[in-house]
Subunit: 235 residues, 2 copies
């Protein structure tokens, strides 16, 4: 193999590129995340990333095993950012709400990475830390182990699932996204009331609500049911 990826710790020679930048895994991941954020997921390509870094595209392959590897590294970084600076308050429902919105938000800030990352179990430190924290909140609130695991599962998967779903539109080209959003007004608002009475009756509400994420509502509904189950069990 002519090109083997060298682990970051083992790098010794830091040779600047022709344009003067000194590369590192960290710099590359951060630049990639910034590009995705600023120019949409279509804006990220080996060539453009190389150009942004002032380096030849092929140089990236000295740091990551292809664009997939780079994307996974971006996902790792996102988990870290979601948890950074978070501290529990002791009120379980508030804590779960805040944590959920943080995770959802961190992924949404980088849709491209979110799409490729959310359904993988990495087993890496920061993912484990998040799981431990959530289970701790639930068990601390008084849920039995069985209930805690059941709710934890629904909670974490729902958070990731909505992150991926909501990331979808953001990962599209501006054009495709605009046309999707507009569809609620251009198509749904014009359906004949005879054939589609329910859509017609709620067209205005739909058009204003659908382009936004349903995650907060779904999260609240989940927490509501959990709280009630806790109360019922306590009786």
């Amino acid at each position: 193999m002519a090109k083997a990826v060298v682990p970051e710790e083992a790098r010794r020679r830091r040779r600047p590129t022709r344009q003067g930048t000194v590369l590192s895994e960290k710099l590359i991941v951060e630049t990639a995340l910034r590009m995705v954020r600023e120019h949409g997921s279509a804006g990220l390509s080996a060539r453009r990333l190389g150009a942004a870094l002032g380096a030849d595209p092929s140089t990236l392959y000295r740091y990551f095993e292809g664009m997939d590897g780079l994307t996974l590294a971006m996902g790792e970084e996102l988990i870290g950012r979601a948890l950074a600076g978070w501290a529990p308050t002791g009120r379980w429902r508030d804590d779960l709400r805040a944590l959920g919105l943080r995770i959802h938000g961190a992924y949404l800030a980088h849709p491209q990475a979110a799409l490729l990352t959310t359904s993988r179990v990495t087993g890496r430190p920061r993912e484990i830390a998040a799981d431990e924290a959530i289970l701790g909140i639930l068990r601390g609130a008084g849920f039995g182990d069985e209930d805690a695991v059941r709710i934890y599962h629904a909670y974490i998967d729902q958070s990731l699932a909505f992150a991926a779903l909501d990331a979808g539109p953001l990962a599209l080209t501006d054009e495709a996204r605009a046309s999707d959003e507009e569809r609620w007004e251009s198509t749904y608002a014009r359906l004949p009331a005879d054939d589609y009475p329910n859509i017609a009756a709620t067209a205005g509400l739909l058009a204003s609500r659908m382009p936004h994420s349903a995650y907060p509502v779904a999260l609240e509904m989940l927490l509501e049911t959990a709280e009630r189950q806790l109360a019922d069990a306590g009786d």
Copy 2:
């Protein structure tokens, strides 16, 4: 514009390709779904689809507005399959549960297509039919328009979001999927109880529950909250 897409109904001339196939929107979508199922989502390209159909890639642009349009059509087909043969019972909670599981299941049957499709608004007939049906169930149950739309939004997005999330692992190679699943036993079950008391206490439950979809549980929690809100409003 040299190439305008002609709507399926308006097509009159059915000229066979050089290799003898007679194209149609239906045939193309079905072939695309089959390709995605057999070769993964990366296996779908205009060139390969053209080859599979025995037609020049550019011919596809007479039927769809680019690959994006084809993707939307695939999503529409999946929704249609979910709805086919379904009939409401009149018990709203049962109906929503059954419909949700159907949609979830239809997408999971084509994991790679689900990943491409779930976050798109197609505005095509069968998607509209599904939306009309769901809104009808909710409004028929007695929910006010505002509540109906809020719950509809959370409900449909939750179904699609879990479909996409659960499709992720299925879209992986058998190898990668097995290693992801095994990670609950190989990594999580072996964490030191001192550092990770909550994971350690529930390791067995986690390993048995996590590899399965959380959708049914999450759906039930959503329906539970909805029912309670309906009861509260009725007082």
